[in-house]
């Protein structure tokens, strides 16, 4: 094998490793909130943010904070665009997340502040304003 071939091969391997790492990272980012909900340590709240169901390890708390900060940014942006309050956008999002994203056995928290677990077949009883 010539030196040049070896160099090209090494570059190819390095590129594949970097690309693979990036794919894994983006895949993890893609369903961060879904994974958190599925962990049972985190649930959806009526205020439009993720919350900790019990005392969660620091790593989980950090992930929840990270997701919530991003959510807050999106809510703020949409609220400004539509002339609505941030809390209104956030609560509307919560209605939609309760409908479509909280799976069986996963946790949710209505305005009464109590964590509940969604059971299999029944949908989450939505707050009156959800429409």
């Amino acid at each position: 094998m010539s030196r040049r071939t070896r160099l090209i091969l090494a570059a190819g391997v390095a590129l594949a490793v970097v690309a693979g790492g990036a794919t894994v990272a983006s895949a993890m980012m893609q369903d961060a909130s879904a994974q958190l909900r599925a962990s049972g340590q985190v649930g959806e709240q009526a205020d439009g943010y993720l919350g900790l169901v019990g005392s969660a390890p620091a790593a989980v708390r950090a992930q929840v904070d990270s997701v919530n900060i991003k959510r807050r940014a999106y809510y703020t942006d949409l609220a400004a665009k539509r002339g609505a309050k941030i809390e209104e956008v956030a609560a509307t999002t919560a209605c939609e997340l309760f409908r479509t994203k909280v799976g069986a056995g996963q946790y949710y928290r209505l305005p009464d502040g109590v964590w509940r677990q969604r059971d299999g077949g029944t949908p989450i009883p939505l707050p009156g304003y959800c429409g």
């Binding site: 980012m29 893609q30 369903d31 961060a32 909130s33 879904a34 709240q45 009526a46 205020d47 943010y49 919350g51 904070d65 997701v67 919530n68 900060i69 991003k70 959510r71 807050r72 999106y74 949409l78 665009k81 539509r82 609505a84 809390e87 209104e88 956008v89 609560a91 509307t92 999002t93 209605c95 939609e96 997340l97 479509t100 994203k101 928290r109 209505l110 305005p111 009464d112 502040g113 707050p127 009156g128 304003y129 959800c130 429409g131």
Partner: protein, 77 residues
């Protein structure tokens, strides 16, 4: 007598230099801590307020935008 005076004089000089050194050392430290914005990670960065007072008409108006937002950002929602 003379000797002890000399010793004490030298000691004074050393102490003065030491004091000056301390000031010199303290100055950048004070400057750094003054120029540095203290960012400590709070336990709860976002205050969760579940007592929300939302009107249904607002929710209906925002619904489609919110659906799009969720669809476009699968990692966040």
């Amino acid at each position: 007598m003379k000797r002890s005076l000399l010793t004490s004089m030298r000691c004074d000089a050393t102490q003065g230099a030491m004091r000056r050194m301390k000031i010199l050392l303290a100055a950048p430290v004070a400057l750094t801590s003054a120029g540095c914005v203290q960012v400590s990670a709070p336990e709860k960065p976002i205050e969760i307020n579940l007592n929300i007072n939302i009107r249904q008409e607002v929710v209906v108006r925002l619904q489609q935008d919110v659906r799009d937002l969720i669809k476009e950002n699968p990692g966040v929602f």
